[in-house]
């Protein structure tokens, strides 16, 4: 759901930069308090993994595809603040090197997929999973986080489109959220797999040993 240049009105993409930029600023301030040095390599590798995984569009309906966003899994792995910064890294590289997502729209894309995706994904994981979920509860929490993050992010993008275009809001929201509910199923499944890998390696417990909720 990378919004290109030319779709959003100037006031809307400027608003996207204001809100997305505020989210980034919060993420930097927060990460400086809670980001462990030992997790720096994981942040880099997760960014690279998410970039590559985002290239793999999977079909969701005849003629429609979707791909991972990765905000929920980044937030579960590293906390929402570093999760936002990881997604921003991916979006910036896609935008600047590959013209995927507009430069003017990078703020809005960061707001929707990064800030919203990470906060919603992390919140849902905590809500469904509690503190240190195990077994099927952890898998349910990870799936809900990935699914919910994708759907809510698509609603944020839909709002920006409705503010910028004359298209009927009910149609925009219906199509966008409907398609991304299907994409969200894929997102949820991938989130479960990655969270299981992180759990198997003790990364999630390690986070809690410090006693800091990132």
């Amino acid at each position: 759901m990378h919004v290109p240049d030319g779709l959003l009105q100037p006031a809307v993409w400027a608003g996207g930069w204001a809100l997305g930029g505020s989210g980034l600023a919060w993420a930097v301030v927060r990460a400086r308090k809670v980001m462990e040095k030992g997790l720096v390599p994981l942040a880099g590798v997760l960014a690279a993994f998410i970039f590559a995984a985002q290239m793999l569009n999977f079909p969701i309906l005849p003629g429609v595809s979707g791909h991972l966003v990765g905000a929920a899994l980044a937030a579960i792995a590293l906390g929402p603040a570093m999760g936002i910064l990881v997604i921003f890294t991916v979006l910036a590289v896609q935008c600047l090197l590959f013209a995927d997502g507009g430069v003017t729209a990078l703020g809005l894309n960061t707001l929707a997929m990064g800030v919203t995706g990470a906060l919603v994904g992390y919140g849902l994981y905590r809500l469904v999973g509690g503190g240190t979920p195990s077994g099927w509860r952890r898998r349910a929490a990870a799936f809900t986080a990935g699914f919910g993050a994708t759907v809510v992010a698509s609603a944020v993008t839909s709002t920006a489109i409705c503010l910028s275009t004359p298209y009927p809001p009910a149609t925009v929201f219906g199509l966008m959220v409907g398609f991304h509910a299907l994409v969200g199923v894929g997102e949820g499944l991938i989130t479960v797999v990655v969270v299981e890998v992180l759990q198997g390696a003790g990364v999630l417990e390690r986070r809690l040993e410090g006693g800091v909720a990132r």
Partner: protein, 100 residues
């Protein structure tokens, strides 16, 4: 070997596999493009898809070799993964300075 190191290797390997498999990605428009196509008349959607990009990118459309070939897409995936790895490491290191 530390368990975190194993995770890093697994995720790195998965990233490489994803980059190698990227030519197999579904060519269908994604959820946003498909929604715009259906919400508007087709001309407007086609225009958007072509879209003017306001900054010149070295490899638009993940075509790093400029010939639209399978290898060109894979190269874009690998170059992009290296770029995100470097930028992600740099950013994470920068913000984690205050915490041991």
């Amino acid at each position: 070997m530390k368990r975190l190191t194993i995770v890093l290797i697994v995720l790195g390997a998965l990233a490489l596999v994803a980059a190698l498999a990227s030519p197999l990605a579904s060519p269908y428009p994604d959820g946003l493009e498909a929604a715009l196509e259906r919400a508007t008349d087709e001309g407007a959607a086609a225009e958007l898809e072509e879209g003017e990009h306001l900054v010149d990118s070295p490899w638009p459309d993940y075509d790093a070799g400029g010939d639209g070939s399978t290898g060109s897409t894979i190269l874009a995936g690998i170059l992009g993964a290296i770029a995100t790895l470097a930028l992600g490491l740099g950013l994470a290191k920068l913000v984690s300075l205050k915490k041991a």
